[in-house]
């Protein structure tokens, strides 16, 4: 079980690198959805010995929302705004990959003193979750298209979820659901905002919004 858990966490990290290195929006949306599924699998794996209905409920609902509903919404937004790829990111894809490697190294360094004795999950969980959060932040800063920035936000949320999982044996139902609801509402609003931005201005490059005049 420990090996399987390690594998899942490694896949989570690799998904982050895919997000950093891919220019295609649809591939990125699929990767974020895959991350949510991976997190669900990690939660089930870590608590395999004492699986409860409550936990299964949280995992199922969060996977349903983050891997099915939100990707569908984002795909729709991307289609309506007619964007398929991130054309000119502020930081190029090769450089993003390098930056990702650097971020991963930093996360491994700062996670060493954070190790919790007796935590149920893999020792890699904390650096991996920190790395997911930082990847999300990096995407928000380094990409221009609004859809990719929303993806960065979702990736960050995945990271926070993973971070919680690394510490708490079982997150209380209420907290888990509240965070999920938050994200759902935020992404709904962002999806609508993207649609309106693209309808008004024929593009969703957020850096050009700063040049708006009355």
């Amino acid at each position: 079980m420990a090996t399987l858990l390690d594998m899942l966490v490694v896949l989570l990290v690799l998904a982050n690198f895919r997000l950093l290195g891919s220019s295609r929006l649809l591939a990125c949306i699929r990767t974020v959805a895959a991350q949510a599924v991976l997190l669900g699998a990690t939660a089930v794996c870590a608590n395999w010995a004492h699986l409860e209905g409550e936990l299964v409920l949280i995992v199922c609902s969060s996977v349903a929302i983050k891997a099915v509903l939100l990707p569908w919404l984002l795909r729709r937004a991307a289609r309506e705004a007619a964007v398929t790829r991130e054309v000119e990111p502020l930081i190029g894809f090769s450089l993003s990959l390098l930056a990702g490697a650097g971020l991963l190294a930093v996360c491994l360094l700062i996670a060493a003193p954070l190790r919790v004795p007796g935590a149920p999950s893999s020792g890699l969980m904390i650096p991996a979750s920190l790395f997911t959060i930082l990847t999300g932040l990096f995407l928000i800063v380094a990409r221009k298209k609004a859809v990719t920035q929303v993806l960065g936000y979702l990736c960050m949320e995945n990271g926070i979820h993973a971070f919680g999982m690394a510490f708490a044996v079982r997150e209380p139902l209420l907290v888990g659901m509240a965070v999920l609801l938050d994200v759902l509402a935020a992404v709904l609003v962002m999806g609508i905002a993207i649609y309106h931005i693209s309808r008004e201005f024929d593009h969703i490059d957020t850096d050009r919004l700063t040049a708006l005049k009355e």
């Binding site: 090996t3 390690d6 490694v10 290195g21 190294a105 020792g123």
Partner: protein
């Protein structure tokens, strides 16, 4: 060093050109053609060996030394490579670095010979080759480093016998998986296979590796072709050891199993080549960087 190690070396020396034949056969079959005979590269080498070489007046001794030194480096490097749990002919702590840099020496003399011709195309090919291998080298070295850290051994033979399944620690699985993926990408890049370079291209502008050896002929070209097939065998043997970390207990069965592994790698290359188009030149560094990232992650896992 055992009898089987020597047998592996002899089998590799004799069988390396067969890998190219297998790749061609797989590509032909997936495309619905019959393809050239499996032993085509042997026939080519035999034909080239019967020919004399023509040297341009602008070339110097560097051009003549290139293929010979390259082939010697490839043979030396091959003698350091174990086939799964079957140890290499020579093994000592730190031989993994020597192996990588013998391959580096092989590339270096090929590049020097290419530059010695003074031809623009060869310079172009050499510059691309050096650019790609500079990016592939960290991926390979970091990957081997990750394996060494997992097995707590600094010689290739020790690493591969320590990581084979009954003896391997269970935490080695993610490391092995990551390093296999990285090694496969490096294999494709170092052996000029399709997503990075097209070995069958006929247009000098799109060539990478082939552009460097345009001016070689006869025996020299045979040495280069044979050296590249040895290099392919080296990487296939490494990949088979990483991706198939199984020791059956009897050394003869290990040898057979991993020989099958080497042939399977050739089939996998053929399948990748028939399924993919070549990457744009600008995308290649990104793929190689991804391989380095995989190796780096493996190293982080191994050192944890």
């Amino acid at each position: 060093m055992t009898f089987l190690s020597v047998l592996h070396l002899l089998l590799a020396l004799a069988g390396a050109p067969l890998l190219a034949g297998i790749i061609h056969r797989v590509k032909a079959r997936t495309a619905g053609r019959r393809g050239p005979p499996l032993l085509q590269l042997y026939f080519d080498l035999g034909k080239l060996l019967k020919k004399g070489a023509v040297y341009s007046r602008t070339t110097t001794w560097v051009f003549k030394a290139g293929p010979i030194v390259g082939l010697a480096a490839a043979v030396l490097s091959l003698s350091l490579v174990p086939l799964g749990p079957v140890p290499a002919v020579a093994a000592f702590p730190g031989d993994l670095i020597l192996m990588v840099y013998l391959l580096g020496l092989m590339r270096f003399v090929t590049v020097l010979a290419a530059l010695d011709t003074g031809s623009a195309f060869e310079g172009l090919g050499a510059s691309r080759e050096v650019q790609f291998s500079a990016l592939a080298e960290p991926a390979l070295l970091l990957g081997l480093g990750a394996l060494a850290a997992t097995a707590r051994d600094m010689s290739l033979s020790g690493i591969f016998s320590g990581l084979s399944l009954p003896a391997a620690p269970p935490s080695a699985a993610p490391v092995l998986l990551l390093v296999s993926a990285a090694t496969f990408i490096v294999l494709l890049a170092e052996n000029a296979r399709i997503p990075i370079d097209d070995p069958n291209t006929h247009l000098e502008l799109t060539m990478v590796h082939e552009a460097m050896v345009l001016d070689h002929g006869g025996v020299d070209l045979a040495a280069i072709e044979y050296g590249s097939s040895l290099k392919l065998w080296i990487f296939a043997a490494l990949l088979s050891g990483v991706a198939l970390p199984v020791a059956t207990g009897s050394s003869a069965a290990d040898l057979l199993l991993h020989l099958a592994g080497v042939l399977a790698v050739a089939v996998a290359i053929g399948l990748v080549e028939s399924g993919m188009a070549r990457l744009r030149l600008l995308r290649v560094p990104q793929l190689l960087l991804a391989a380095s990232v995989l190796s780096l992650l493996a190293l982080a896992l191994a050192l944890r």
